[in-house]
């Protein structure tokens, strides 16, 4: 399977959910996905297109567009293509369906994306903070408008 074949199969299966499907090179493909269909798309990728390895889930804050993006990198053990799947979310109420039931290792990725960006993953089995302390929930430190950085310089060096 090569990039064009994969993208054609994906666009034919979900003509409304998949948009801006591009092949960046022979081994990299990218596309935007509708946020309500992300679980079905992932299930199709895993079952039909041999994308059986989820590399990462992360978030990006586009404050000028008033949008958050969730980025999934999905790869395969059988062909060399890595697919970058992105989902746009509104900044006020970012919610997206969890893909833990498709890729089990998305569990901790989604927890970290939740604690750093405040993106709620619906139907996640255990959505709580992963690394940060519990009382930092609600600050969302990786958003661009985060203000809570410490401002005391070290007195010993000044």
């Amino acid at each position: 399977m090569d990039v064009a074949e994969i993208l054609k199969s994906l666009t034919d299966a979900f003509p409304e959910a998949i948009s801006e499907a591009t092949a960046e090179s022979e081994i990299r493909a990218g596309s935007y996905v509708d946020k309500d269909k992300v679980k079905k798309v992932c299930q199709y990728l895993k079952d039909s297109l041999q994308f059986d390895h989820l590399c990462s889930v992360c978030g990006v804050d586009y404050i000028k567009r008033n949008e958050l993006e969730v980025v999934y990198h999905i790869a395969s053990y059988n062909h060399p293509v890595v697919l970058t799947l992105k989902a746009r979310l509104p900044r006020e109420n970012p919610e997206i369906e969890s893909i833990v039931s498709v890729y089990w290792n998305a569990n901790w990725y989604e927890r970290e994306t939740y604690e750093l960006f405040g993106i709620l993953f619906e139907n996640h089995p255990n959505l709580k903070s992963l690394v940060l302390p519990e009382d930092m929930l609600g600050e969302w430190p990786l958003r661009k408008d985060y203000e809570g950085f410490p401002n005391k310089t070290a007195r010993n060096l000044v």
């Binding site: 690394v131 940060l132 302390p133 930092m136 600050e139 430190p141 985060y146 809570g148 950085f149 410490p150 005391k152 310089t153 070290a154 007195r155 010993n156 060096l157």
Partner: protein, 184 residues
């Protein structure tokens, strides 16, 4: 013997001459307060400075240097500096890495578990100022406002010799009664 309390007799306003002769009661703090004013404290400090057992509590990459310092190559045992695994057996706590907001309660708890007299040293740039993480959302700044830190050892990470020199400086402070760990 100013701090030593006489045994309370039936009348609380009795002076010391009127108590039972030869019988006095006292407390350990009164004894230690008395000893601080005498030459005996020099002897006690000589013992303390030659048995600075530190807690093996590595927090970052400086912790690796700390373990290397405690091992046979640098041989801190010749100064009486021995790594201990339990905070209840340790005299010195080495803060050897950046302190996050999540780790600070655990570090305070370790510090409270150590018996007094106890000292604390800052190892490396991370614990002194935050290092590369000084402006992170999860880093605790100005660790010296939280713990009474005697010696700062800069470096990223400091070599084991530098830590050893930090221990020697701490010994000098204890010998000169200038350390923050014990009250004089």
């Amino acid at each position: 013997m100013g701090e030593v309390k006489e045994k309370k007799a039936s009348k609380p306003d009795e002076t010391s001459e009127e108590g039972i002769p030869g019988v006095i009661t006292t407390t350990t703090s009164a004894i230690s307060d008395l000893l601080k004013k005498t030459k005996v404290q020099d002897l006690i400090n000589w013992g303390r400075k030659n048995s600075l057992w530190f807690m093996t509590q590595p927090m970052g990459c400086c912790g690796v240097e700390m373990i290397a310092m405690g091992c046979a190559h640098y041989d801190t045992d010749r100064f009486g500096i021995i790594p201990r695994n339990s905070p209840r057996q340790a005299d010195v706590m080495l803060i050897s890495g950046y302190v996050t907001k999540k780790y600070l309660p655990a570090l305070k708890r370790l510090w409270e578990q150590m018996p007094s007299p106890k000292w604390v040293m800052c190892i490396g740039d991370c614990s002194i100022s935050g290092g590369p993480f000084y402006e992170s959302y999860s880093t605790v700044q100005n660790i010296d406002e939280i713990f009474p830190i005697d010696v700062f050892v800069p470096g990223c990470p400091p070599r084991p010799e530098a830590m050893l020199q930090g221990f020697v400086e701490l010994q000098e402070k204890i010998k000169a009664k200038k350390d923050l760990g014990s009250e004089y």
